[in-house]
Amino acid sequence: MPEPLLRAEGIVKVYADGTVALKGVDFEVRPGEIQGLLGENGAGKTTLTKIMSGLLHPTAGRIFIGGEPVRLRSPRDALERGIGMVHQHFALVDTFTSLENIALGTGLPLGPSLRHSVTELMERTGLKVPLDTPVENLAVGERQRVEILKVLSRKVKVLILDEPTSVLTPVETDELFGFLRRLKEERVGIVFITHKLREVMEITDRITVLRRGEVVGEVETRKTSAEELARMMVGEEIRIRGRRPVELRTELGEEARREAARARGKPVLVVEGLRVKGDGGDEAVKGVSFEIYPGEIFGIAGVEGNGQTELVEAICGLRGGTGSVLLKGREVLGLSPLELYRLGLAHIPEDRWKYGLILSFTVAENSILGRQRSPDFLGSLSILRWGRVFSHARELIRRFSIQAPGLEAPAKSLSGGNQQKLIVGRELSKEPEVVVAAQPTRGLDIGAAEYIRDILLEMRDGGKAILLVSADLDEVLALSDRVAFMYEGTFTAVTTPSEVDREKAGLYMGGVKA
């Protein structure tokens, strides 16, 4: 067996906020091999590769290059030692040509010799891009090639690709794979990060599976199967016991409860053939249909970045789309968040800091965001009645046991859990009929997460229709009455949690259709 090009030993990473991202991970890259790195969101894939490419420093553990222990000070340092990384988000100057970007990214002087060596590199690897076209005129796949050429121009021995196919069309993906195989013959070691089972099976030689910061498996690709990988990726144990849902289910029986919910009436939210564009202009949601009845939680599971964000934003009036979204029988696609709130929709946004709160505003000010024009708080001449706002905020703090230094403390002085409680409380105070909860427990400690889940169940029991979108599979399975799996903008399966075992769930999340 050849000496590994790059070896990481016992890597531990604790972030400043106390999050343990990696708990002693071993990993190695061998020449002429494609090493897959597989895992769910938050498994630690990105952290590990950032450490290997010098972007982050490990809390503990060592990195060896060619058998020598090294300390990587920066990405440039790593690049000089032969380790290059291509990130998911490109670092290109749009108005510069490909060649100019390569010169900029590598620090090599722009001139005939660079052009010559890049041309030669393109010939050898088959990775062709027009060198004199401004990057803004290139397709996404071509831009990615420019990024890869940037790294290869520095004659790297290890090439790390972070979710390289997430932005590519199927044809572009095939081209990339062809090129990676050719690069393998040049004895380059490649790290291929993904959550897509099909791709990891197709292109890699060996696969390391990460889960919650630990290596849970290291297998040779030809000796494993998508099913085995899926099982490893999502784990066997059920982490969230969810006292209440389990109890409730046993009491009433899931099927019976669902029937009861349906009997209660028509669906309050009906989504049909919804298509939504992502930020890049590509289609992020490709025709999704579902309906939610009162008193039911409809869960959407899936690895993040498969269109859930765009789906939620379209339903909640933050993004345009085509198709149909009926709220209580009324077409609401394209309405503003304010109009949707008035029609009975509340939205617990995925990104607390971007959409959910204004961090520099006080707790009281945040407690009415979206309801600032409600007659509850508005006097004549559009004067805000602070007395009422304060008593409203005080009521939220009491009802949702929010720990806050005071009503006039800025929202940023609250912990993540209390910030989320404030948002959840505010949204519930809108007395909605439909609640869209996107990643409602992400980043929260166990206590706060449990609390939020209890509230979601309480709302469901109160007859509200809830759309729960979460990358936490256990959460979706424990809370939902029905669950859909989302992969690349479509549902791979819509079913009930009892009909899904973890292996199946892993397959659905990895793109295998039911």
């Binding site: 204004i358 965001l369 508005l378």
Partner: protein, 356 residues
């Protein structure tokens, strides 16, 4: 309580910044062989200890409060309105134009002020509409509009409002539309109260109305504001409209309320830069109406004290300007940093995508 604590902290920061500014400026003075002590004594004695000097500071502060409010409101809403300068020119001339006809005293002043406000609004609305509908950067458009306004004002002074007997100035404002003088023998007029009232109104608007709430929300976090149903186009138009009013009035306070001229001279010497100085004042005053009042008085004092420094401490004008610049910069620094952080945060939020 916490809000009080936060404001006290801002005041303390500003005081510290002032000390730093004065010390640094003092070192510069010392290095060139002047006595900083006697310079500062002459500065403060002149501007803040005698009635005549202090009323000069207040007279200087009057237009600055108004132009600073233009900038501050926009900044609170996340916009950079650099256009107070140009809006102010037209406000000053529109107020003069009201003297083309006769009206009873009092009413005439009100009509002149309405003219001024409308002129400011007219000039502010074009960049605002461009920004709201086409996304044109308000920074660029307001700067360009300042230049258009400047030459338009030159032309108006020379051709439309020109005094038939004295070609270097406009017609003199009729006594019926002048601000009465507040202290005889000084150039301080009742226009000061207009500026103070405007600051009070805008304070109330920002912190006690839903409109102000939405404006501040849009400034602090445009994404959350959109989520909360705030329409950014509406906020842009409103902020520029109100800013146009205060900037236009700032011009009027000079043509209607600054003895002895009561006219605008060719080349606009009396009003040039009042809009730009307002930006500095807004920064020193932390873009807060109350802070702006104090900052404008301080700034106005520095301006009138400059002449005295030149006269009594024998410091050349250039050096006085250096000292002023250093002090203003030091005082503006805390707010500059806050705004810088705010915008970096917004960039981060913009860049934030799923994944990671």
């Amino acid at each position: 309580m916490r809000r009080l604590y936060a404001s006290l902290r801002s005041v303390a920061e500003s005081l510290l910044a002032a000390v730093v500014g004065f010390v640094v400026a003092g070192i510069i003075l010392k290095a060139w062989g002047y006595s900083p002590i006697s310079a500062y004594i002459s500065l403060f004695k002149a501007s803040f200890t005698d009635l005549y000097g202090f009323s000069g500071a207040l007279a200087n502060a009057t237009p600055l409060i108004l132009t600073a409010l233009t900038f501050a409101m926009a900044t609170r809403a996340g916009l950079f309105n650099i256009g107070a300068e140009g809006q102010m020119y037209l406000g000053a001339l529109a107020a003069v134009a009201a003297s083309l006809f006769k009206l009873p005293a009092g009413l005439h002043l009100i009509v002149a002020l309405v003219f001024a406000a409308l002129a400011g609004v007219l000039w502010a609305l074009i960049p605002a509409v461009l920004r709201a509908t086409r996304g044109v950067s308000e920074v660029i458009s307001t700067i360009m509009f300042n230049w258009i306004s400047r030459y338009l004002a030159f032309w108006l002074v020379a051709n439309v409002l020109v005094d038939p007997y004295r070609a270097e100035k406009t017609i003199t404002v009729l006594p019926t539309s002048r601000f009465p003088t507040l202290i005889r023998g000084t150039d301080l007029s009742y226009a000061l109260f207009l500026a103070l009232a405007a600051a009070a109104v805008i304070y109330f608007l920002l912190w006690h109305t839903v409109t102000g709430y939405e404006m501040r929300a849009a400034g602090e976090n445009p994404f959350a504001a959109r989520y909360g149903g705030v329409k950014s186009g509406k906020v842009i138009i409103l902020v520029f409209l109100l800013g146009g009013i205060t900037a236009g009035l700032a011009g009027a306070t000079q043509s209607l309320g600054r003895p002895p001229t009561y006219a605008v001279y060719s080349g606009l010497p009396q009003i040039l830069n009042l809009g730009f100085d307002g930006i500095g004042v807004a920064m020193i005053g932390r873009n807060h109406p109350l802070g702006i009042i104090f900052a404008a008085i301080f700034y106005g004092g520095l301006q009138s004290g400059a002449r005295v420094m030149q006269l009594f401490a024998k410091i050349p004008l250039e050096m006085v300007r250096v000292v002023q610049g250093v002090i203003v910069l030091a005082l503006a620094l805390p707010e500059l940093l806050r705004i810088f952080r705010l915008f970096r945060r917004r960039k981060l939020l913009e860049a934030k995508r799923e994944g990671e």
